[in-house]
């Protein structure tokens, strides 16, 4: 020892910290080093393969996006807020957010700080050949604090490291507790870990207590702070002067090694993959296959945190927990075709899991892509679409009031072609009183398939249009073709494209300037996939709200207590939350549901699910209803024909609620006050 001191004393600057082990190596670092090297190789190769599998345009788009200032700023913001601080989880469940961010941010900090410590005090060791890979991790083993030469800076770093270690340990404590009483952290249901998950999880739990143990064992040699030093004194109290610290450091390294070795096979790969996924997502690159290409980054970015499982509306029945997004992603990783298809077909596509995923994994989109791999190749024949005509949507009444002349829309009909056997005039229409309007109506109203089974919507909408003096044409009064979204939800993308093309033609030839939809399912696809140039596409809640706000429609405010149900496709699907509420506030008092806006619970009637049976759906409807009845409303108002039918039936079939609350459509609620 003495010669070393002499050597040091001869140096110009007295170092605060000295290499205790000249070689800078000890065998115990091997488990960690092998483990982490394995993991880095795995992710390196994986990333290269993924980028190689991407189409060239997407790759270029990706590289470019990294330099666009706006995208770069978004990336940095999301990397900090979502990956480190888990802001999205804080917003929903604070204690859970604390737990995740404590481990994530805490560990991130001690790694960074560890490297800074090495850079400041033993810079030579940063070099990879001289142990740069493991030195910062095992800093407190390799260094020897030079007593009497500690500076404020040194103490500060010791303090920071101890502080962050304590921070992480508090998170770990919560994590262990969560395994026994998850409800305290706000999660009713949690994910069941797989075998690799368990290996990684238990070793992760052990890493930090072992680190505390190991560092405290060497605290009198390497230095420490408020956490490690008292523990060190405790060990001395227990074991006397000599402390066997090697076993602790071995254990620490082994746990680390185990964790990193298990990481690529467990959910914890998300730590690094989510970085890649966020960059890809913000570059605007979407997956088109549930497994290959960009989807690989997406499914490995999933951390199995279980928030999707906790929020999925199907989980009112424990047996349906296995269909949650987190398990879908797990089985995608394992290429378990049978389970993947079963889960993909069950989903309601309500998008709740996507809305609250801390990493922004779009599991419903992956499910649709999976459905497409099976359903898109099924045979279909839509040749009849080319000859479909939108009859009687425009009529001009002659002055004599005689039978109206019908002028159908499509180009084919303009050539005088009509369906064989029909005279172009639907039964009974001629004798009906018709409103007169000009040949190019301002508004085209498309009710959609479902609305024809809930005719009170159509009646109310027409009543409102008449009262507001809207010049409109009813595109599918006698029934039309489907908008195409159910086909898209089922994965039949080619068939959907054919339907879209046919409808698009009809709508564009109508000459309207606004397209009003009473069904949010239609609204979403008309807005996003149709690309109707020069036509404003609005949902009837938006249109009617505008009518009220501009004074074209006079409504009366009643003292009716109403609660509004956000339909999945309108709310989370299209971001329309405020306009329906603004309009409804003009006709009554709105009370709150226990879960609303983007947290609203699916009514259970969604077309998205291919395999849910009536019994399961009824349970989901009941749960959704219970949430709506929280504020004791007199009326439940919804803006979707499917929600309307589902809730009406649920209320009628439920003995205890039936008769106590009414279910009304949005247009019905507004028109009843005219």
């Amino acid at each position: 020892m003495t010669p070393l001191f002499n050597l040091l004393a001869a140096q110009a600057e007295v170092p605060e910290v000295i290499d205790r082990i000249p070689s800078g190596f000890s065998y115990f670092v091997l488990p960690f080093t092998i483990g982490v090297a394995f993991m880095f190789c795995w992710i390196g190769i994986g990333t290269i393969r993924l980028l190689a599998a991407m189409p060239r345009e997407d790759r270029i788009k990706f590289w470019k996006s990294l330099f666009i200032p706006k995208t770069a700023a978004k990336n940095i913001k999301e990397l900090f807020c979502d990956c480190l601080f888990h802001v999205k989880i804080w917003q929903r469940k604070p204690l859970l957010g604390y737990m995740h961010s404590a481990i994530a941010f805490g560990w991130f900090m001690i790694i960074i700080l560890g490297h800074i410590e090495v850079a400041l005090f033993v810079p030579a060791r940063l070099n990879v050949t001289r142990g740069g890979l493991f030195y910062p991790i095992f800093y407190r083993y390799f260094v020897w604090m030079n007593p009497g030469h500690t500076t404020l800076r040194g103490s500060f770093f010791f303090f920071l490291m101890d502080f962050f270690l304590l921070y992480i340990l508090s998170g770990i404590a919560l994590a262990v507790f969560k395994r026994f009483r998850s409800i305290v952290l706000g999660m009713r249901h949690t994910t069941k870990p797989s075998f690799a998950d368990r290996v990684a999880l238990y070793s992760l739990w052990m890493i930090f207590p072992l680190r505390l143990l190991a560092e405290s064992f060497t605290a009198d040699l390497s230095g420490g702070s408020f956490l490690t030093i008292p523990v060190n004194q405790f060990w001395h109290f227990l074991f006397g002067d000599k402390l066997w610290f090697m076993p602790c450091w071995w254990a620490y390294s082994i746990c680390l090694g185990l964790f990193f070795a298990a990481m690529p096979f467990s959910r914890y790969m998300h730590i690094l993959t989510e970085v890649l996924w966020i960059l890809l997502r913000n570059a605007g690159i979407k997956p088109n296959h549930p497994r290959k290409g960009v989807a690989e980054a997406e499914i490995y970015a999933c951390s199995s945190c279980g928030l999707c499982l906790d929020a999925c509306p199907m989980n009112v029945q424990k047996k349906n927990l296995k269909f949650s997004s987190v398990y879908f992603i797990r089985f995608l990783r394992r290429h378990n075709e049978k389970k993947i298809n079963a889960i993909a077909d069950k989903c309601l596509m309500c998008d709740k899991c996507h809305a609250l995923c801390p990493v922004g994994v779009d599991a419903p989109a992956l499910r649709r892509a999976q459905r497409a791999t099976v359903n898109n190749s099924l045979p279909y024949d839509y040749s009849y679409l080319g000859s479909v005509v939108s009859k009687d949507t425009v009529r001009t009444a002659k002055d004599t009031g005689a039978a109206a002349e019908l002028r159908p829309y499509s180009a084919a009909a303009k050539r005088g072609w009509t369906r064989p056997g029909s005279d172009g005039c639907p039964e009974g229409m001629v004798s009906e009183p018709i409103q007169t309007y000009s040949s190019n109506p301002e508004v085209l109203y498309f009710a959609g398939c479902m609305s024809h089974l809930t005719p009170r919507i159509i009646k109310s909408v027409e009543k409102i249009f008449k009262a507001a003096g809207v010049e409109y044409a009813f595109a599918d009064r006698d029934g039309g073709i489907c908008c195409g979204r159910p086909l898209m939800l089922a994965g039949k993308t080619d068939a959907a494209a054919a339907t879209i093309a046919a409808n698009k033609k009809m709508i564009q030839e109508s000459g309207c300037s606004t397209l009003v939809l009473s069904c949010p399912i239609c609204f979403k696809i008309f807005k996003e996939e149709y690309h109707l140039e020069g036509i404003k596409v609005v949902h009837y809640t938006q249109f009617i709200n505008e009518l009220i706000a501009s004074g074209r429609l006079n409504v009366e405010k009643t003292d009716r207590k109403m609660v509004y149900h956000d339909p999945c496709e309108l709310g989370r699907g299209c971001g329309v939350y405020l306009e329906p509420r603004a309009a409804l506030s003009q006709v009554g008092t709105l009370v709150k549901a226990s879960k609303e806006y983007d947290e609203s619970i699916c009514c259970g009637g969604s077309l998205g699910s291919l395999t849910l049976d009536t019994h399961d759906r009824a349970k989901i409807s009941e749960a959704s209803l219970t949430s709506l009845l929280d504020g004791k409303p007199e009326t439940i108002v919804t803006a979707c024909p499917l929600c309307l039918k589902t809730f009406s039936e649920t209320v009628a079939n439920s003995g205890r609620i039936a008769g106590k609350v009414k279910v009304k459509d949005f247009a019905e609620a507004i028109s009843s006050t005219l």
Partner: protein, 109 residues
């Protein structure tokens, strides 16, 4: 057995002995409710595509049971999966899933 030639013209008669039980059982495993259709016709009545071209789930199910799977596929090829039939089926059959299942099972060679 001597064939007198009465079989020359394609039979306009349903021959239940030609029913493909294996395929039907495969279909029933995917969607057990195919068994409880009571052929009431509600699905056909509300069908969106049925207004334009012959489309009928009831007929498709009946065609399968009568050993005529080509007709079944024909009756479903124009389906838009709009879901109106599911809404009205009095037996609560998940008709959309049944349509997809029939197409999957019977379009395989």
């Amino acid at each position: 057995m001597v064939d007198f030639g009465f079989g020359l013209v394609p039979s306009s008669r349903i021959n239940l002995d030609l029913f493909d039980k294996e395929k039907y059982d495969e279909l029933a495993a995917m969607e057990p409710d195919v068994r409880i259709c009571m052929a009431c016709g509600s699905c056909t009545a509300v069908c969106t595509a049925g207004k334009f071209v012959p489309t009928s789930l009831r007929e498709a199910i009946e065609a399968i049971k009568n050993a005529n799977s080509e007709k079944a596929l024909q009756m479903l090829e124009s389906c838009q999966l709009c879901g109106k039939c599911s809404m009205v089926c009095p037996r609560g059959i998940n008709t959309r899933h049944l349509i997809l299942s029939i197409t999957k099972v019977y379009s395989q060679k």
